[in-house]
C-alpha cells in the first residue's frame, strides 16, 4: 500500500435530528473501521451557518462531502449502507 492520503470529509446536517445523529454515528463507525488514522471529519450544522450551504451545493441533509482528495464526492442520506458509503468515498474496504 502506498502512502495513505488523508481523506477530508465534511458532514452537513441541519440540527440534531435523528437522521443527522444516525449519519454521524454511521460515518464515525465506517471511518474507524476502514480509514483509521487517514481521515478528518468536520460537521457543519447549517442551522448555525446557513451561508455555507451554497458553497458545497448542499440540498439534501445529511450530506457527506469528500473534499479531498479530488474530485469532490457527495453522499446523501444517513449513511446506513456501509458498502455504498465506501463506494461513494472511493475507499477500498479494509480486510479485517
Amino acid at each position: 500500500m502506498s502512502q495513505p492520503e488523508i481523506i477530508e470529509l465534511r458532514l452537513y446536517v441541519a440540527g440534531q435530528t435523528v437522521k443527522s445523529l444516525a449519519a454521524f454515528a454511521n460515518l464515525k463507525r465506517i471511518c474507524e473501521t476502514h480509514l483509521a488514522g487517514q481521515y478528518r471529519i468536520e460537521v457543519i450544522d447549517l442551522l448555525k451557518t446557513p451561508a455555507l450551504a451554497a458553497g458545497d451545493q448542499i440540498l439534501a441533509v445529511p450530506t457527506l462531502v469528500r473534499r479531498l482528495p479530488e474530485p469532490i464526492k457527495k453522499i446523501i442520506g444517513d449513511l446506513s449502507n456501509e458498502e455504498r458509503v465506501l463506494v461513494g468515498l472511493d475507499v477500498q474496504p479494509a480486510r479485517p
Binding site: Y12, G15, A22, P50, Q57, A60, V85, G88
Partner: protein, 584 residues
C-alpha cells in the same frame, strides 16, 4: 425546526385576493392585478418559451418598482448566464445584487457526483433559500425549473414529499413565488406533475412556429379565487422585457372627437361628407396591387404634415428613400417634412419578425414620437401567412391602441381581387369591421388600359358619397374625376376623355341641325305667306271680275229694257232717242 426558526417572520398572507403586481406589461391586466400575493404560481412551458424571462422580470420589477426584493434560485442556468440574459432585456442584475435587492443562488446538482444511502430530506435547500430570503428581506421568490432536481436525485418519493413541503413553506413565509416547470408529454402541464402541488395559479407559455414565423403565447390556465382572462394572449420578449398583448381586457371607451381631418385630396374630402375623416378614426384603403393605395396614404401623411402634425409612416414594402422618391413622382414632396422632423418613416420587412414583434415596435415608436397620424402600408403584409382568426385580435388591439391615443390612422390593405375567388371587398386580416372608414380602390380594365376607381364603401358617422370616382395619379398629384355613366357603363381614362369629346361633337352637330330646321321652317312660312297673298289677290281679282259682270249684266238688262221701251214707243209713234236712254 425551520418553523421555529422563522416564526418571527410575517404571518401567511390572508386568504382572499391580495395580488402582487408583476409590472409586466399586459400580464397584470389579464390577471386583474398580478399574481396571487404570498402564494406560489406555476409558470410552465416547453424549452425556450420564455419562462425564465418572465420569472426574472417579475423579480426585477418587484425589486425596482414595488419595493419587494426577491430571490432567484436557479437549477439549470448559472448566475453568470442569467445575468447575461437579463442584460439583453435591459436589466442590470449585478447592480441589483450589489444593492441587495436581488439574491441569486445557483443550485447545481450532478447526478454523477452523488451517491445516495439511507434517509435524507431537502432541508439544505430550505436553509439556503431561507438564508437568501433573510439576507435581503425578500418578498418574492423564483425557483427556475425545480424539476431539474428530478434528474439529480434518484429518490423521487422523497423529492415529491419535499417539494410539497417547500411550496407549503413558501406560502407560510408569505412569499409570492414563481415556480417554473417544463411542459410534459401530451396533455401534461408539467413533466413531473408539479401542478399537483402548486394549485393556486398556473400560467402556461407556448412558442409556436407557423409558416416560419414564430409567435409566443401566454395563457392563465388557472387562478384560484380570482377572475382572469382565459384566452391565449400573444406575448413578446423585446428590448424592454416581457410584454403580453391582452385584447379582451381593453374596453371600448375611447373618446369620439368631432374634429375632421382632410385626407389631402380635396375631392375625396368632398366624398366623405365634405370634410374628410374624423380625428382619431381609422381608415382602411384596400385594393389590388397598383391601385394607388400607397399614394393615397402618402397624400394623407403629407396633408397632416402641412397642418403641422407629426406623422409616422410604416412602409412594409419600400425603403424610406424609395417612398420619398416614388411619392415625389406624383408631386408629394415628403423630404422637407422628414428634415423638419414632422415625418418619420420606419421601413422594415414584414417577415423580419412576427406580427406581435412588429406591433411592439409600432407601440414603442408611437410612444416615443407621439404622432397625430399613423400610416401603415400595408397592414395585410403584417398578417402574411397567418390565418385571419389569429391576426384579427392582434390588429384589433393595435387599432384600439391608436384610438385610445386619439391617433388618426390609415391602413392600406392589399387584396388579391381578380384571382377569381375573392371579391375586391375582401380585405385581409378581417379588419374592415374595425375600421371607421373604408375606401376601396379598384382597377378597371377596358379599351386596352387600366384605370383606377375609388369608392367609399363605408364611413361611420357621416353622409358619404355612394358614387365612384376615377382616381387619377399624375405628376401634379392625386385627383378624383367624375366618371362618365352612359349606356356603355362606367367610362374611365381615355375612354372617358374620348367619350367627352364625342359628346361635345355631337352636341355641336345637334345645335347646327336645329338652326337648319329653324331656317327651313322660316322659309316655308314665308312661302306660305306668299301663297296666301297670291290667293288673296286672286280672290280680289275674281271679286272685281264678278262685280264687273254683274254690272254689265244689269246694264245690258236695263239697256234691253230701254230698247224694248223705245221700240214700243216708236211703234206707237214716240220719238224718243234710243241712244240717250241706253246710257242712263
Amino acid at each position: 425546526m425551520l418553523a421555529a426558526m422563522h416564526k418571527k417572520n410575517s404571518p401567511p398572507a390572508p386568504p382572499g385576493l391580495r395580488k402582487s403586481p408583476t409590472g409586466i406589461a399586459g400580464l397584470d391586466e389579464i390577471t386583474g392585478g398580478g399574481l396571487p400575493a404570498g402564494r406560489p404560481t406555476l409558470v410552465c412551458g416547453s424549452a425556450g418559451c420564455g419562462k425564465t424571462m418572465l420569472a426574472m422580470e417579475f423579480l426585477v420589477r418587484g425589486a425596482t418598482q414595488f419595493g419587494e426584493p426577491g430571490v432567484f434560485m436557479m437549477f439549470e442556468e448559472s448566475a453568470a448566464d442569467l445575468t447575461a440574459n437579463a442584460r439583453s432585456l435591459g436589466f442590470d442584475l449585478d447592480r441589483l445584487v450589489k444593492q441587495k435587492k436581488i439574491a441569486l443562488d445557483h443550485v447545481r446538482i450532478e447526478r454523477s457526483e452523488i451517491e445516495e444511502t439511507g434517509e435524507y430530506d431537502l432541508e439544505g435547500l430550505f436553509i439556503r433559500l431561507g438564508h437568501a430570503i433573510d439576507l435581503i428581506g425578500a418578498k418574492r421568490v423564483v425557483l427556475d425549473t425545480v424539476e431539474a432536481l428530478f434528474a439529480g436525485l434518484p429518490n423521487h418519493g422523497i423529492l415529491r414529499a419535499e417539494l410539497r413541503r417547500l411550496f407549503g413553506w413558501l406560502k407560510d413565509r408569505g412569499m409570492t413565488a414563481i415556480i417554473t416547470g417544463e411542459k410534459g408529454e401530451g396533455n401534461a402541464i408539467t413533466r413531473y406533475g408539479l401542478e399537483e402541488y402548486v394549485a393556486d395559479c398556473v400560467i402556461t407559455l407556448d412558442h409556436r412556429v407557423h409558416e416560419q414565423i414564430s409567435t409566443r403565447r401566454l395563457r392563465v390556465l388557472k387562478y384560484r379565487g380570482s377572475m382572469h382572462g382565459t384566452n391565449e394572449y400573444p406575448f413578446l420578449i423585446g428590448e424592454r422585457g416581457f410584454s403580453v398583448l391582452p385584447i379582451t381586457s381593453l374596453r371600448l371607451d375611447h373618446a369620439a372627437p368631432t374634429e375632421r381631418l382632410s385626407t389631402g385630396i380635396a375631392r375625396l374630402d368632398e366624398m366623405l361628407g365634405g370634410h374628410g375623416v374624423f380625428r382619431g378614426s381609422s381608415v382602411l384603403v384596400s385594393g389590388t396591387p397598383g391601385t394607388g393605395k400607397s399614394s393615397l396614404g402618402a397624400a394623407f401623411a403629407e396633408a397632416a404634415c402641412r397642418r403641422g402634425e407629426r406623422v409616422l409612416l410604416f412602409p412594409y414594402e419600400e425603403s424610406s428613400a424609395q417612398v420619398v422618391r416614388n411619392m415625389g413622382s406624383i408631386g408629394l414632396d415628403l423630404a422637407p417634412w422628414l428634415k423638419k422632423g414632422l415625418l418619420q418613416i420606419h421601413a422594415s420587412r414584414p417577415t423580419l419578425q412576427g406580427l406581435e414583434q412588429h406591433l411592439l415596435a409600432i407601440h414603442d415608436t408611437v410612444k416615443a414620437f407621439r404622432p397625430a397620424v399613423v400610416v401603415i402600408d400595408p397592414i395585410s403584409n403584417l398578417s402574411l401567412e397567418r390565418s385571419e382568426a389569429e391576426v384579427a385580435p392582434t390588429l384589433m388591439r393595435l387599432i384600439d391602441f391608436f384610438k385610445q391615443q386619439q391617433i388618426t390612422t390609415l391602413f392600406t390593405s392589399l387584396t388579391t381581387g381578380g384571382s377569381g375567388t375573392g371579391t375586391p371587398e375582401d380585405s385581409q386580416g378581417g379588419v374592415s369591421s374595425l375600421m371607421d372608414t373604408w375606401l376601396l380602390l379598384r382597377n378597371v380594365e377596358s379599351n386596352g388600359e387600366r384605370n383606377r376607381l375609388i369608392f367609399v364603401l363605408k364611413s361611420r358617422g357621416m353622409a358619404h358619397s355612394n358614387q365612384m370616382r376615377e382616381f387619377v395619379l399624375s405628376d401634379a398629384g392625386i385627383d378624383l374625376v367624375d366618371v362618365y355613366l352612359g349606356a356603355d357603363g362606367v367610362l374611365t381614362g381615355n375612354a372617358r376623355v374620348a367619350h367627352g369629346a364625342h359628346e361635345q361633337a355631337s352636341a355641336e352637330l345637334r345645335q347646327r341641325d336645329h338652326e337648319r330646321n329653324l331656317l327651313r321652317i322660316a322659309s316655308r312660312q314665308k312661302a306660305i305667306e306668299a301663297q296666301i297673298a297670291a290667293l288673296q289677290a286672286q280672290a280680289k281679282a275674281e271679286e272685281a271680275e264678278a262685280t264687273f259682270t254683274i254690272s254689265q249684266d244689269r246694264w245690258q238688262e236695263s239697256n234691253a229694257r230701254q230698247i224694248d221701251a223705245a221700240m214700243a214707243q216708236r211703234r206707237s209713234g214716240g220719238t224718243t232717242d234710243p241712244k240717250t236712254k241706253a246710257r242712263r
